[in-house]
Amino acid sequence: MRKRSTFFSVVTALIASATIAVAQTPSTPAAPAIQTPAPAASTTASGINWEGAVTFGGIGTSTDGYQGRVAEYTVTDEDALAAIRFMTWGENGGFRYDVSVFNGGDARNQRYAAYLDFSRLVKARVTYRQFPHRLDHDPLTYVDGGSPLGGTFIVRHTDTDPGAAYRVGYGEFDAGVDLNLRNVQFFLGHRRETRSGWHQALTTAHCANCHVVGFSQKMDELTSDLTAGARAHVGPLALEYTFLNRNTEDSADPIQYTYDDAVQPATLQDIFTNRVQYDAGSGPLPVSADPEIRKYSNTLRARFGLPGNGAIYGNFTQSSTKNETQGLSYDYTGAFGRFFLPIGRWASLRADFRRYSIDNDSVFVNVIEPVAVAGLAAGKTYSEAFPNALPATFDFTRESSLNRTPTELGVEFGVRPAKRTFLRFGYGWQEVERDYFEVEKTTTNTIYVAGRSQMGIANARFRFQYEDINDPFLYKHAAWPEILQPYMSPGNSPLTGLQYYSMYESRQADLTAFPTKNAFFEGAVTFAPNARTAITAHYRWRDAQNDELNAGLGGFNSEWGRTVSAPGVDVWIGADDHWALTAGYTYNREELDTMFSTLAFNG
């Protein structure tokens, strides 16, 4: 029987390895009626029982059109490639091993894995894989636009590498070892993830024109993890501690680019240098630079068993993520607890508690405010040129809307009213407090009922959930500004009407992508008239609405809503031991209702 499994595992592995029909491979049906007797496993003189398979083959590919979508993660070079796969596994007493090797004839298509088990006292694993990821190349041609005003009063683009096909190679190395003593286990792991190749980087020069520029940017990114910890079991108490240290950096040098001269776009006079933070006079500046990120976390988990199969669970996590380039930190501290208590044979009670806080450093943004080199504002910053209309400085402190302290409580009552029938009734409460946002507190009340039952040839399950959300996260004053001054100001002043630099502040409508009411239902029914046939019909529905925005403002209706409806059916037929069929269909319809707002301004 093991040999027969090998027969199909080789085939299945080749399908995946050769990146052919990975997603389309149907589920393996009931074991076929192959009567070939399996020869006994090989045994060496040392007594090791081992088995395996080796495959040699070739891959040929023909392509047409853009490969970035149809073969986003697949090697489709039109060269004949040799492929090899080798698998072996075996055991000797308490020692077990399992080794597999695949190489698809291309460095971007290879996988290796080895698992070793020494009498369950020491377990070790090593894996490595590599695959390509094609990235899009934005042609930028759609941004171009012109005007009859002369000069450089246009939007234009420059793609410095128009023929480039962007792609990165993804590599992942993962290794770990577990040491299992009597009541204590120690584990140690190391993971390295690399992304190497080229991607597109974009930047824009302003004022003289809107000039969007695309570059080929090298990527040489490494993420390295070290994980260590221990587990202990003492009577009804189980404890686990895990430490993680992660470092991410991109060692590729950023593109250096000299931005356009900030001249007046129509007259080309050099009088706009105080309207930008940098221009040609600043010299070459870095584009698309990635910071170095370091993260560490400490996690403590515990479980205490209670009489009668009850239990108390809990965990505590503390982590810190730091942008080493800028010296900014993101801290997380959280705790979770769960109490579970069976009530006789027919019911159970569960209660959950969770609270965590996210603290993101505030950032002082020191805006570069150069002076104009010519014109009426020569020698003045932009604020100094318009002292009555603008603040004294554009410096500001960015305080993160990510800062928050959510608290969650939940309780669930489970009951088994009949044989093979289970029902769960639950209630949840969540409160999210934010430090630096106009929506300071969001409260959510959730109720749900779920169940599953088996009745004869039918098996059904369902869940209905309803959430009532008070003050969901939204963007206040996000859209619909006052109308700009509909004529040009004479000279530089007086600026009588609403000017472009004030239009953002004049926005009136609140927008959000979060509901105040959220209803959800999912259900599935499976009919299995015999052991070789199963038909499942399933349906999922969600209706999320927010009717508490400043609807009706100025005649605009800013209500928000999202509805999702997704029916489907799956069929499995294994008529006899010689053939099997799986088929399915799903449909998903999603509708979003929202206010659209676009600022009509030409910069």
């Binding site: 052919i20 636009g145 939007v155 088929a583 399915g584 799903t586």
Partner: protein, 125 residues
């Protein structure tokens, strides 16, 4: 109310046949069709195009109809045969055809396809 609407169809069929005790034949089909669009977008760009002396930026056209229409199709067709010549020797052949059809290119046309063949021999020990 303006909004965004999308439809997504997915269907698949897989067949696995063992005509003899030493032969496995399989085939599978995956089909996807999806479309999405802005709807009921009552944008009137007339006043802006009149004010701004003939700028021809897309957002200043008189209508946004069809601005973000997407119409996307994908098909994957695969098949193969494995023949066990002896207890140790297996012959493998696989074919796969995949195609993406971008019927309404947005930023760029991502239509493309590839045909891939694998032939090999396996030795089981």
């Amino acid at each position: 109310m303006a909004g965004y609407e999308q439809h997504n169809h997915n269907a698949w069929v897989g067949v696995q046949v063992y005509p003899t005790s030493r032969t496995e034949v399989f085939a599978n089909l995956l089909w996807n069709r999806a479309d999405a669009t802005i709807r009921d977008f009552g944008y009137d760009g007339g006043p802006y195009t009149a004010q701004l002396v003939g700028l021809d930026f897309p957002l200043h056209s008189a209508s946004m109809a069809g601005f973000s229409d997407l119409d996307f199709g994908q098909v994957g067709l695969g098949g193969g045969v494995n023949v066990r010549m002896t207890d140790q020797l297996i012959l493998n052949a696989l074919l796969n055809y995949s195609k993406v059809d971008d019927k309404q290119p947005y930023i760029e046309d991502v239509t493309g396809s590839y045909f891939q063949f694998f032939g090999g021999v396996s030795w089981v020990f």
